[in-house]
């Protein structure tokens, strides 16, 4: 699959060079990151992790901008975990822009959602499970996507012909289950990764409100795990991908300095039907203490009807966070917060800060702590993975 995209993208790039008036645009970054954990892992994994990362992007426009090719790739070389050393085609698509509509063919990343601490509705792309602990990094998803923007809203239709399996940290990696996850996944559908998935989303701005309703029918991006044990293989977790129908809602209402946010999903699978939601707000205090700094207060509540912390740890949890934007020439920013489990004593903390060094260089520091989760909570597997990460990137 990857090879196919690379060849296809190379082909179009060469073809584009021969076309007249092609506008070429590139961007990206290369970086180095160092992650220090608070001691060895639960199975004796290393405490320090060094990695190199790059994300180049190239785009061509032709036909006076009505056709475009975009390719972006992700590469990481990691000192600790072979599984974290990986390459992915994040984007490689042809875009055609019509009169009030557009068509995308190829791999792309699509984000759905409004809340900050959990992305419930976001279903198109598979999570890149070896990148950040926040699950915000996604793998490129092959698709044919058509959308039109009219007075009645923005309608997007997706045909997703190929499913991407989630990647997981390897035996030497951190932030992973106690038992390693196997490479050979099992599917509910006999078509396996070739199950044809479909999705649709309607978005509209009505005054101070932005709302979206979406429908997804296809392979659940989040696997169940089946325990597989044998004398040769030991114990391992085999991902099991079920079929799912998801009805999603996203809403954001701006009321002065406060943004009210809501995401809700209703999911129907062969084994269960359930409802989950995130409700929250972001209130911003502009120019605090007579300075140029803005302070944002974030508050979100997570609910999952199943109330099973092995499936979704965020079933009755509260997120309290703050974002301090310095509004200075280096765009210095600090974001931090706690996610507190309202049922048990578990809590996690994260803090991220970044600032620009020059117009090319940027440094960021991130810290994550996991504490007091009982073994019945899936987050307990990260309990020994408290870490701090420093990353330096060169953007171009």
């Amino acid at each position: 699959m990857k090879k196919m995209w690379v060849m296809l993208s190379a082909g179009v790039m060469v073809a584009s060079l021969f076309a007249s008036s092609v506008a070429i645009d590139y961007r990206g970054y290369v970086g180095a990151s160092w992650r220090q954990y608070d001691g060895q892992g639960a199975q004796g994994q290393d405490a320090s992790d060094f990695s190199l990362v790059a994300e180049p992007e190239l785009a061509f426009d032709w036909n006076e901008g009505s056709d475009r090719w975009v390719s972006s790739f992700f590469l990481r070389a990691d000192s600790m975990d072979d599984e974290r050393t990986h390459f992915d085609v994040r984007e490689s698509y042809w875009l055609h822009i019509g009169d009030g509509w557009e068509l995308r063919v190829g791999a792309d990343i699509v984000f759905w959602g409004v809340t900050e601490s959990q992305h419930l509705v976001d279903i198109i792309n598979q999570t890149d499970g070896v990148e950040g602990a926040d699950g915000e990094d996604k793998l490129g998803q092959p698709m044919v996507a058509w959308s039109t923007e009219q007075d009645w809203g923005l309608l997007s239709l997706y045909w997703l012909p190929y499913f991407r399996e989630r990647n997981f940290p390897g035996i030497d990696g951190r932030l992973r289950p106690f038992v390693p996850v196997a490479d050979d996944a099992v599917y509910e559908s006999s078509a396996e990764e070739w199950h044809q998935d479909f999705a649709a989303r309607w978005f509209k701005t009505i005054g101070d409100a932005d709302i979206a309703v979406s429908l997804f029918r296809g392979t659940d991006r989040f696997p169940d795990f089946v325990i597989d044990a044998g004398p040769q293989i030991g114990i391992r977790l085999v991902p099991y991908y079920r079929q799912m129908t998801q009805l999603g809602f996203e809403g954001q209402y701006m009321s002065g300095d406060t943004a009210w946010k809501m995401e809700a999903v209703w999911r129907d699978r062969a084994d269960e039907t359930y409802f989950a939601s995130v409700l929250g707000l972001e209130h911003t205090l502009y120019g605090i203490f007579g300075s140029d700094k803005d302070l944002g207060i974030l508050l979100e509540y997570h609910y999952d009807e199943r109330r099973d912390k092995r499936l979704n740890p965020f079933d009755n949890d509260t997120f309290i966070g703050a974002r301090l934007a310095f509004n200075d020439e280096d765009s210095s920013e600090i974001l931090g917060g706690f996610i507190i489990d309202n049922d048990n004593q578990g809590w996690m903390f994260f803090a991220e800060t970044s600032r620009r060094l020059t117009s090319h260089w940027k440094i960021s520091i991130e810290a994550r702590l996991f504490a007091d989760y009982p073994q019945s909570d899936i987050v307990a597997q990260y309990q020994q993975d408290d870490h701090i990460e420093v990353e330096l990137r060169y953007y171009y």
């Binding site: 645009d25 961007r27 701005t205």
Partner: protein, 260 residues
């Protein structure tokens, strides 16, 4: 109830100013004429280089591209695409400004593929760490201010009207602005901004004026000096183009998401 009182007092104020104050009347007439001469440009695009200079003389450069669409009887629409610094390359900002109700603003973050709706109440906050606030860069609309004509002055031997402007917007960072307007061409030459404590905060000067389509003046260089911080920001506009055929469709959410 509160709204009614506000509305009522608002009406009384406007009524009072119009009826009794010739200085307010003259100030409004000057600004209306300036606005009349600058209407009908339809759409434009330009590239912008921002040079931030702090009090130690250190320079930082920002590069952006701006597309604008004139909207009759309301604020304009604009799409701003960031090119430099490189970590925000591809970030795009879509704004529908309005005369009296709050602006609608969205930010597209390419690294997250995410469009975020943002509050427009922070108009007084700095734009990208510069000495320009969002408010300073918003489209000029007559109805956004009350006016008072202060008298005449001269800049470089040219005759100026001096008009004081009082922002109606309650979250404005200024109590008042004093504008020098060229009597011949009805274009802004200089603005003094007074902060919420009514102390002189900034001075904006417009330079290198050039005429487009035979009648629309655009300053290709703007200098904003912050008197309190000792820092300044210079804007250099390049490649101004008018009537490039932009329409409402070029300021949509779809366009924001694919802006490059």
């Amino acid at each position: 109830m509160n709204k009614w009182i506000l509305l009522l007092s608002g009406l009384l104020m406007v009524g009072g100013v119009h009826a009794a104050d010739p200085a307010a009347e003259k100030g409004l007439e000057i600004v209306k004429e300036m606005d009349r001469r600058n209407s009908g440009w339809k759409d434009s695009q330009a590239t912008l280089k921002m040079i931030l200079i702090n009090k130690n003389g250190d320079k930082t450069v920002r590069r952006l591209r701006v597309k604008s669409l004139e909207v009759q009887n309301d604020g304009d629409k604009s799409l701003t695409i960031f090119d430099e610094p490189y970590d925000v390359k591809g970030t795009a900002f879509l704004s529908y400004s309005h005369v009296l109700k709050p602006d609608e603003q969205w930010l597209y973050l390419p690294a997250l593929k995410r469009i975020k709706r943002i509050s427009s109440n922070n108009k007084s906050g700095p734009f990208m760490g510069s000495e320009f606030s969002y408010e300073d860069l918003a489209s000029f609309e007559v109805e956004k201010y009350d006016y008072k004509y202060l008298g005449e002055d001269e800049i470089d031997g040219r005759k100026m009207f001096v008009v004081e402007m009082y922002p109606k917007y309650k979250h404005s960072g200024y109590t008042r602005e004093v504008a020098w307007i060229d009597q011949q061409e009805y274009r802004m030459e200089k603005i003094d901004f007074y902060d919420r404590k009514n102390a002189l905060l900034k001075t904006l000067t417009f330079k290198n004026y050039k005429k487009y389509l035979g009648k629309f003046w655009r300053a290709l260089r703007m200098e904003m000096v912050n008197h309190q911080k000792g820092s300044k920001t210079i804007l250099e506009w390049e490649d101004y183009k008018f009537n490039v055929g932009l329409t409402d469709d070029d300021f949509s959410r779809s366009v924001l998401k694919r802006a490059r």
